[in-house]
């Protein structure tokens, strides 16, 4: 069975909560309109459609284009040899959605990483601690409004941080620019926030 057929089955099961399967370069994506139902959708995808492997969970910060968070689930079925991508959006005021650790135990560390780097909480996660930064670090460093150079902080006896000298940087690219010269990473004014 192809990923498109599996995606159609999932949509048939949940109806309007899921979008029509979107195909881009042979990859199938379903958008989930209600993030509160993510665990339920994943449970069906695993137990009834055979998506037994959770490859990754990632998150996108849309910053000034709400809803701010986009959570992306990459599923794979060993039985069918097919990939499926689930996307769901969460508003900044909510910043919380159900955990899928009950569906795939592998989600544990992925969700901890998103919590650490983006500050999105997963309800029902068995152990929602930071995974890369240390306990007590006050920021979520992959958020768009966190400066690359970092901010000073200290947890006595554990770790401290300082701001890194960027010497004219950060060097950022301009996606969507017409040619490679315009897209080339160059120093641009740093957005001073937080």
């Amino acid at each position: 069975m192809t990923a498109l057929e599996l995606a159609r089955q999932l949509r048939h099961r949940f109806g309007e909560v899921l979008s029509e399967p979107l195909e881009f370069r042979g990859e199938i994506t379903l958008e989930l309109r209600d993030p509160e139902r993510i665990a339920e959708v994943c449970q069906v995808a695993r137990s009834e459609l055979g998506f037994d492997l959770l490859l990754d969970i990632s998150s996108v910060d849309n910053y000034d284009r709400p809803p701010r968070w986009l959570i992306v689930y990459e599923l794979y079925s060993l039985r069918h040899g097919q990939h499926l991508r689930l996307k769901t959006q969460v508003a900044e005021e909510v910043s919380e959605l159900p955990s899928v650790t009950s569906v795939w135990p592998a989600a544990d560390w992925h969700e901890r990483e998103i919590y650490d780097m983006m500050g999105i909480r997963f309800r029902g996660h068995p152990d929602l601690r930071r995974i890369l930064m240390w306990e007590g670090y006050p920021y979520h460093p992959l958020r768009k409004d966190f400066p690359l150079r970092g901010l000073p902080s200290e947890v006595p006896g554990v770790a401290f941080t300082e701001s890194a000298p960027l010497e004219g940087g950060p060097f950022v690219t301009t996606p969507g620019a017409p040619d490679a010269i315009a897209r080339e990473p160059r120093a641009r004014p740093v957005r001073e926030e937080t």
Binding site: M133, F146, G157, A159
Partner: protein
């Protein structure tokens, strides 16, 4: 029966006695048996291993006894990216090393933070440790590390051992100010 004790020139031991200053002898012992503590934190550690292996053979300079216990080491070779998460651990390991002790910052990351101008990386291990020799490179070739070791040996050779015998070692750089406040009694 009368015995005589021979003082001064003795033809029986001629050629087997070397006369030198105590300080020069001590420094000579030290410089050719620097036991490294391999503080391998990233890809530089691979080059450090190469420096220790047969092709480059750091044993030629008397520094082949890599010890993973700080209590048995003389020179900490910080090879790799020091993250803020690791920084105080590196410092604690350094503090556990017995005097006399030295530090080689191997590679761009350990020396200055290297390409990681980032929220997560300490911008040079000299912010928390007194570094004796910096090695350029990303990663440096094993020859560069051997050169650093030879430079460190030259430094050890010049040290006034007897004058500083009862004195504590080099003061640790204390940064940031918050860390400094915590270290003061």
């Amino acid at each position: 029966m009368q015995t005589t004790t021979e003082i001064g020139y003795n033809s029986k031991v001629e050629g087997d006695v070397i006369v030198t200053r105590l300080e020069a002898a001590l420094n000579w012992f030290r410089q050719y048996s620097l036991w490294p503590m391999p503080m391998g934190l990233a890809c530089c550690a691979i080059e450090l291993m190469a420096a220790g292996a047969s092709r480059f053979d750091i044993a030629r300079f008397g520094a082949e006894v890599m010890r993973f216990s700080p209590r048995q080491s003389d020179v900490m070779i910080v090879s790799g990216t020091v993250t803020y998460k690791m920084a105080l651990v590196v410092r604690r390991l350094y503090e556990q090393m017995a005097e006399p002790k030295w530090v080689i910052a191997m590679g761009a990351c350990a020396s200055t933070g290297g390409m990681y101008r980032s929220y997560a990386v300490l911008q040079g291990v000299d912010r928390i440790l007194p570094v004796d020799v910096y090695v350029a490179g990303c990663p440096p070739r094993p020859e560069a590390l051997l050169d650093a070791l030879i430079k460190l040996q030259a430094k050890v050779r010049r040290e006034p051992v007897l004058a500083t015998l009862k004195r504590p070692g080099p003061a640790l750089p204390v940064r940031p100010p918050a860390l400094q406040a915590r270290l003061q009694p």
